[in-house]
Symmetry: none
């Protein structure tokens, strides 16, 4: 072969895909290795055990988004509502693109099984959460926003997107995409979601 495909990466990709479709416990190490075309023992060899594989998967995701959002927070050229909207856009794009992993993480966070996962997952979550919270709080302090419920506003932002990600069947019905197309890859639908969220937040946040 010309390019040596990184086995470690193959396993992570396969795991991400299978975890998304079948859940953590529903995905056997055997299936993951078969999908990744590597030997069964490689998971334990590279990641120690199945849980190590999962944790590595989380870390892989954690990196990029926060830096981008952090810049947003500090950008003096944007108004508060523009920052909110930019955050919403970036966050939506990110979650749509990493839909599988997002769902996997959400499922794990809603369980008390494998609680040590929560730490790593919580950090990712909390990072974005705190950035958004600062944007909102500063906007309120500056008088640009009303005295809103900051934490629940963030829950709305995240929850709306998650809800869209969860109900693929339902989305398929009202997203007006072809049957063989992934609605989450459809630009029209993604724009619709982004515009909706921005309008919703603006209605709620901005003083009339």
């Amino acid at each position: 072969m010309r390019v040596k495909p990184d086995k470690k990466e193959s396993i992570l990709d396969a795991a991400e895909q299978l975890f998304a479709m079948k859940g953590y416990e529903g995905s056997s190490v055997r299936d993951i290795c078969q999908l990744a075309s590597v030997n069964l023992a490689m998971v334990n060899y590279y990641f120690g055990n199945k849980e190590g594989l999962f944790e590595r998967l989380i870390e892989r995701k954690a990196s990029f988004l926060r830096e981008k959002l952090q810049k947003l927070l500090d950008d003096p050229s944007l108004s508060y509502i523009e920052k909110v909207e930019a955050f919403a856009d970036g966050y939506t794009d990110r979650l749509f693109e990493r839909r599988g992993l997002t769902l996997t993480i959400m499922r794990e966070m809603s369980m008390q099984q494998r609680c040590h996962f929560h730490e790593a997952m919580g950090e990712i979550f909390l990072g974005n959460f705190n950035i958004m919270r600062q944007i909102l709080q500063r906007g309120i302090e500056a008088g640009a926003f009303r005295q809103v419920d900051v934490e629940l506003t963030i829950a709305t932002l995240m929850g709306t997107i998650h809800q869209v990600l969860i109900n693929e069947n339902m989305v398929r019905k009202f997203a007006a995409v072809q049957d063989d197309t992934d609605p989450y890859d459809d630009q029209n639908f993604r724009d619709r979601v982004k515009n909706y969220i921005k309008q919703l937040l603006r209605s709620y946040l901005v003083k009339v």
Copy 2:
């Protein structure tokens, strides 16, 4: 014996609790039976198999809420925004009270495993979905609401509540409840969520 404890119900209760905490696959029939203090074979005796138990669990939930919401839709004494708010209140209460099952269902709906579950779960979901949709659409037609994105508005309603239900750890931080109290049973917090959602929707829906 004085009171005959209904074994069938015990099993369902135990399953609801364990599924919520550890997921469907993470909960073994053994564990469920042990928690319910019944013999291992009773699950198969009463429900055929583990999947039958799950389906029965779904059906048990399905019953009450929809009738109540349906009445809402047809109540002529309420304005459109009052209907939306009443729906939000009822839905929030319901999901808070049945938090465990709600999370279990959400997790299953976000997976492609055990797809035959989706039918039963989808019906529950779709029922509430359609009622809310009708309220919104009629409100729009009547000119009481703006030309909003109906489906995504519903996603916001549901998604916000789910997001709150998922992140127990985070909720605990900003809900200001005592450590040993279930924040979802705290009346202050629940009212906070309900008020937030109503205000959010009112901001978005009602013309200025």
Copy 3:
């Protein structure tokens, strides 16, 4: 209901049918009771346990044939070869009619599992075996038959019929019966078998 169907008999009938099709271990007490339309506990109530049911099934078969064959042995109006042929005819008819039970017994006799069954089954078998042996031995002593291998001759008689009973698929091919007909109920085929056996035995037994 008008005629009260004998439950005991219903169970025996159902068991005979299921044992024949699926074997002793392949037939669950549940299936038997369901086919017999009786309560699950009736098997243990009437027969003690599953093995008792089987033994009772054997006894039910044991009765009729031997008496008929015994009369044959003592009938002075028949020649030796006529006795052999009458025996073959009667035996063939009997085994064809009770095909299921015959197969069940054969299977059990060929296993070392549940050896206590062998006694009851062996008696049935041995009874017929001994009658035929006497016929043959007396025929040899009287000079009507050649000095043949008596025991193996009986094995041929029984084995040929069993072989025909076992291979239903093969029989169906060369028995020239309609697809929906039980070849063992087809008179032509049964006559063919009977004539074949008689001719075979005559060729072997009778001096030229």
Copy 4:
């Protein structure tokens, strides 16, 4: 270790032995693995499942005999009756040597359980069946044999041997072997059976 015992083969040997004694359903995978001194999971590892093990067992038997018999059919140096006798000898030897598996197969063929086994088993059976049929038919056409019932003649050949194999208890009585000896390994008894069959067939087939 010096000699590496083939685990796969050990399992097959153990299964052959247990299936013969206790039947397919009466032999648990646990028992088989214990007898073979291998881990419980090895059956699934090597054969997929218990049925796969059985099928593999059949295939292992299928190989040798037919080639030998086929050569017989085409050997120009033998007369028709010599071919029949050679076939009978070879077939008897083979079935005596593989008594356990023969009984197992016969039992399975006589049941409607696990019908997919029948294909593989039927092929083995049919192969030998067809060779013998051709020998007989050509002998008849050549005028060496009488106009006999070909199919039932084969049933007699097979059935007689099977009958001897089934009734170990009875065989023990008239085979005149020591109590601790397997009568099927006794050369005298085997010769007796072979001679009997050859004489029986010659009587029936050959014109006087």
